[in-house]
């Protein structure tokens, strides 16, 4: 029995707490019944029926009361708290829920209108039968109060329905809800796992779908697969995945752009069922090295729900697969032989070499067809093919007998536009090779002897200058002392081309320790310089082969020669690892809205930090606008920090250029990727099928909120079921046989019977 008072809800009940055996009480009851019968029979002959009934009744009540007392009735009064079964109402507040429907209201607003007490009785009705717990979720689930319902923000970065529901079930494991009422558009972007767990949890889930899959329209570039690194002149396959909701029968152009210029276009016809998906292939052939930004995009169409997902940007770095070297040699010597072997052994070098095996003055003793000689294709090489090489080496080669002077102009142009050139010594090099006053002398880091008699056979050693000790070409060991020692151990060179001097803008890496006629000392032996966008090198000896073969005889190793050639090659072609301006980022990618930070280093020609470098940097945003970027010098010489806020998704192109005195270094640039932390702006198609699946797996039902035939609230309550439970707060127990009224009642019955017997004259 329940009753409500001002102090709470109470429940009363009788409990029988007998201590005698029930069999004994039953025996006693049987005895009382026999006695009562005997009395009844006895009174039948002596009194009127009314008196008989009265007396028997009184006796019977007394016997019952005695039996009752023996059964020890206890009055239990409990103060209880009434508990309603719980129901979880879960609302999707991810970004896709902010999309507007046909009526102009967002999906989330529809949910708010359905639940808000001011606009609907749904929540109130549910609260009468259930203890409603409100939750919101996007990438994770968390509770919210009714007061916050109207201000639910929406806009979460992603939608993870199964993980959120699994977390909710786990957290309520001790007191599982009666059911879950889930409001979502079903645009699940989380993992596919979790449904089995929900099924085994045996909590029915009623899923309510928002949005309309049949009227949803969107085109999305879902993904792009392309290598981030490729090689020059190698075809690259770019594969884009296009998805479409709606637009059946329409032909959609898909465009591949590079830095805003259209590279290729494919057209896709939307067929079949929604969502439509198709792979789109592009093939591109990089024609220049560098880092490039490509975009696959589709123009926005009418009534498209999202346009942010109509394009994807990706970077491709194009590098040389091989360094193409043209080596022209005037006569086969050991210097050619070991240089050729060193270049051939380098797997990243593609060597094309031409060696003059016979000069016009050599005497031929067989017909031409018995000689393996081939024509020297000077015209093709020096008028058409120069740009195809990364490095041109003239090794003991005089051009005079083989091609006209103006071909050397082409070499100068080639270098000024970014090519690399090296001249190695010999009897046919430098002044003796006829290069005085030619475009080759212009690009060399040395000025030649005008008298053309520059070749000296003299034993000498190469001595590194201070610049040479740190330069990447002549740095054979990271340890400065070890490096000096190595060079001191190098075999002597047996000849030198004497030059007039090194040019002012050149860097002399090594000099000869020989003394020559005319009092020439410290003759330059190895010098480098930048010319235009390119680099040149002069090595004034044809005996460097001894650093290979002779050193191998001494040390059983020719590694230092090979290393020297390798470093010489890399420096000349401006290997990225040897850049003098280096941009580095603090991370490989940055989240939208965060700061993008990093460091820029500037090195001198000798690769020591440049303390007085002037640095300018420009930043190109993903949409192509240029904005300034602040550079702050650090305490380290030649080092700067940059920082900017990533306000757009895509690739930022940061370029830096350094100046030291009158010299301008080549710029470096770096592509910095900024990504959106979530996927909600990429995929927002309602997925009611997924919601139906959840309902089926959990024993629930699904309906669309906008469905006019949606279930009523009463049917929802009936579906979820459940009965209120109560919780005992306080309890008091009273044994009735210990109370006076019951005892008095027994006495009254017996006394009344005695008085009536007396009155009836039975005594």
């Amino acid at each position: 029995m329940l009753w409500q008072t001002a102090s709470g809800l109470f429940r009363g009940s009788i409990s029988w707490e007998y201590t005698l055996p029930l069999a004994g009480i039953a025996l006693l009851a049987a005895g009382f019944a026999i006695l009562l019968f005997l009395q009844w029979r006895d009174l039948g002959r002596r009194v009127t029926p009314a008196v008989r009934w009265g007396l028997s009744l009184l006796r019977g009540v007394a016997y019952l009361l005695i039996l009752g007392m023996l059964l020890n009735p206890t009055l239990v009064i409990q103060k209880v708290l009434r508990l309603l079964p719980s129901l979880a109402v879960v609302v999707d507040t991810s970004g896709s829920m902010r999309l507007s429907e046909a009526d102009g209201k967002s999906r989330l607003q529809h949910v708010i209108d359905y639940l808000h007490p001011d606009t609907s009785a749904a929540l109130q009705t549910l609260m009468q039968h259930y203890q409603v717990k409100l939750y919101q979720f996007d990438e994770n689930v968390r509770p919210f109060s009714l007061a916050a319902l109207e201000q639910l923000p929406g806009g979460g970065d992603t939608t993870d329905i199964t993980t959120s529901l699994t977390t909710l079930v786990e957290e309520n494991r001790a007191t599982p809800p009666r059911g879950v009422l889930l409001f979502s558009d079903g645009a699940h972007l989380g993992p596919d796992t979790g449904l089995e767990y929900l099924r085994q949890a045996k909590i029915p889930m009623v899923t309510v779908g928002l949005g309309n899959p049949s009227t949803y329209r969107d085109i999305r570039v879902a993904s792009v697969q392309a290598p981030s690194l490729t090689f020059l002149h190698y075809p690259v396959d770019v594969q884009a995945t296009l998805q479409a909701w709606g637009y059946q029968g329409e032909r959609i152009p898909v465009v591949l752009k590079r830095a805003g210029r259209v590279v290729a276009t494919q057209t896709v016809e939307v067929t079949g069922t929604t969502p439509f998906e198709q792979q789109v292939h592009f093939e591109i052939m990089p024609e220049e090295t560098g880092e490039f930004t490509y975009t696959v995009s589709v123009a926005p169409r009418l009534e498209e729900a999202l346009t942010d997902n109509n394009q994807r940007t990706f970077p491709i770095s194009v590098v040389r697969d091989k360094i193409r070297v043209l080596l022209v040699c005037g006569t086969p010597t050991w210097n050619y032989r070991f240089l050729r072997l060193a270049l051939k052994q380098d797997p990243s070098v593609d060597l094309i070499s031409f060696v003059i095996l016979r000069t016009p003055t050599d005497v031929v003793n067989v017909p031409e067809n018995q000689l393996s000689l081939i024509p020297f294709p000077t015209r093709r090489l020096f008028t058409q093919e120069l740009q195809n090489f990364d490095l041109i080496i003239f090794e003991n080669f005089s051009f005079q007998f083989y091609f006209p002077w103006y071909y050397l102009e082409n070499v100068r142009t080639y270098v000024s536009e970014g090519g690399a050139f090296a001249m190695l010594g010999g009897r046919l090099s430098f002044a003796q090779g006829g290069y005085v006053g030619t475009p080759i002398e212009d690009i060399l880091p040395v000025t030649l002897q005008p008298d053309r008699n520059d070749y000296r056979s003299v034993s000498q050693r190469m001595i590194l200058t201070p610049e040479g000790k740190a330069h990447p070409i002549t740095r054979l060991s990271a340890d400065a002392q070890a490096n000096e020692y190595l060079w001191e151990e190098m075999p002597e060179l047996d000849a030198l081309n004497i030059v007039a001097r090194a040019k002012p803008e050149a860097t002399v890496l090594a000099v000869s320790n020989g003394r020559f006629d005319g009092g020439v000392q410290d003759a330059p032996l190895l010098a480098v310089q930048r010319f235009g966008k390119g680099r040149t090198l002069a090595l004034m000896s044809d005996y460097t082969w001894k650093w290979n073969f002779q050193l191998a005889g001494q040390m059983d190793s020719n590694q230092y020669y090979l290393q020297f050639i390798r470093q010489l090659t890399r420096w000349l072609i401006r290997d990225p690892g040897l850049k003098q301006v280096r941009i580095m980022a603090d991370a490989t990618e940055f989240s939208l809205g965060n700061e993008v930070t990093g460091t820029i280093q500037v090195l001198q020609d000798d690769y020591r930090p440049a303390p007085n470098a002037g640095l300018t940097a420009t930043l190109e945003t993903p949409v192509g606008t240029e904005v300034p970027v602040e550079l702050v010098p650090t305490n380290n010489p030649g080092e700067f920090r940059y920082r900017f806020r990533a306000s757009e998704v895509g690739l930022y192109n940061l370029a830096a250029q350094a100046t030291i005195g009158p010299t301008t270094h080549e710029a470096d640039h770096l592509l910095l990727r900024v990504y959106h932390p979530g996927d909600e702006n990429q995929q927002a198609a309602p997925n009611h099928a997924f919601l139906q699946d959840i309902a089926e797996q959990t024993g629930g039902v699904f309906f669309a909120l906008q469905d006019p035939a949606r279930p009523t609230l009463a049917s929802l309550v009936e579906f979820f079921g459940g009965t209120p439970s109560s919780k005992v707060l306080e309890e008091t127990r009273q044994r009735l046989r210990e109370t006076l009224p019951l005892f008095l009642l027994v006495l009254v019955c017996l006394a009344l019977e005695w008085w009536w017997r007396r009155r009836a004259g039975l005594f």
């Binding site: 050729r340 095996l357 050599d362 018995q370 000689l371 009897r427 073969f549 191998a552 059983d556």
Partner: protein, 257 residues
Amino acid sequence: MLSRRRFLHRTLLWATGAQAVLGLETASAAVALPAANTFILAQLQYRGGQWDPRPRATLSLMREVQLRTSVDTQDERQILTLQDPLLFSYPFLYMTGEQSFVPFTEQELTILRRYLLFGGLLLIDDARGNKGRDFDASVRRDVARLFPDQPLKILPPDHTVFRSFYLIRTVGGVRLVNPYLEGVHVGDRTPLLYCQNGLGAAWERDYLGNWVSPCHPGGEAQRLEAFKLGVNCVLYALTVNYKQDLIHIPFIRKKLG
């Protein structure tokens, strides 16, 4: 027009010839620094046997190379042993003999192996041509010790040494013991070449400029092939697989028919 270099060279030749008539002999002495990065042939002196049966053979060869090719050579050879500290200053080594010789020591083999692996070339010329005996037996014995895993093999007709200057189809010499050349391959090079046909004997002139030995059975044509092979060996040493570069192949194929 004759260049200054050629004029000086030919003058020298004449002077040498004049010296020969006058009975003056050019001494094979330690070499002073040459005027340019010239090719100097080194000849191996070894123990036992007869290491120098044809003293003037290499002179003829050097002159032939100088005459026909763009390579500047030095007439005088450099005589070296395997223990000579100057060995690694001369990447081309010529070895000849007629008789069996004392086996190389292990240290000598180590040095020679290093010499060949790091870019040197050894041309072995059997001056007698007795197969399986004498010099040939000693050569095969020591080559097997030098490269146990790389035996002497017959060079295929398209080997680079047959194309490095002349297109050679036959192997010459003072006699035709073998119509082929043998060699030891290491990687894509053949740093050791072996000919049993007596190349030196075919090259050798006396002081009057006459051929010392007639070539049988092919006569002067066979001698020419010997010179061509000698020139090719020098060019092969200097250019290695240059003639295997792709650009040469169509031309060579066309010339070979």
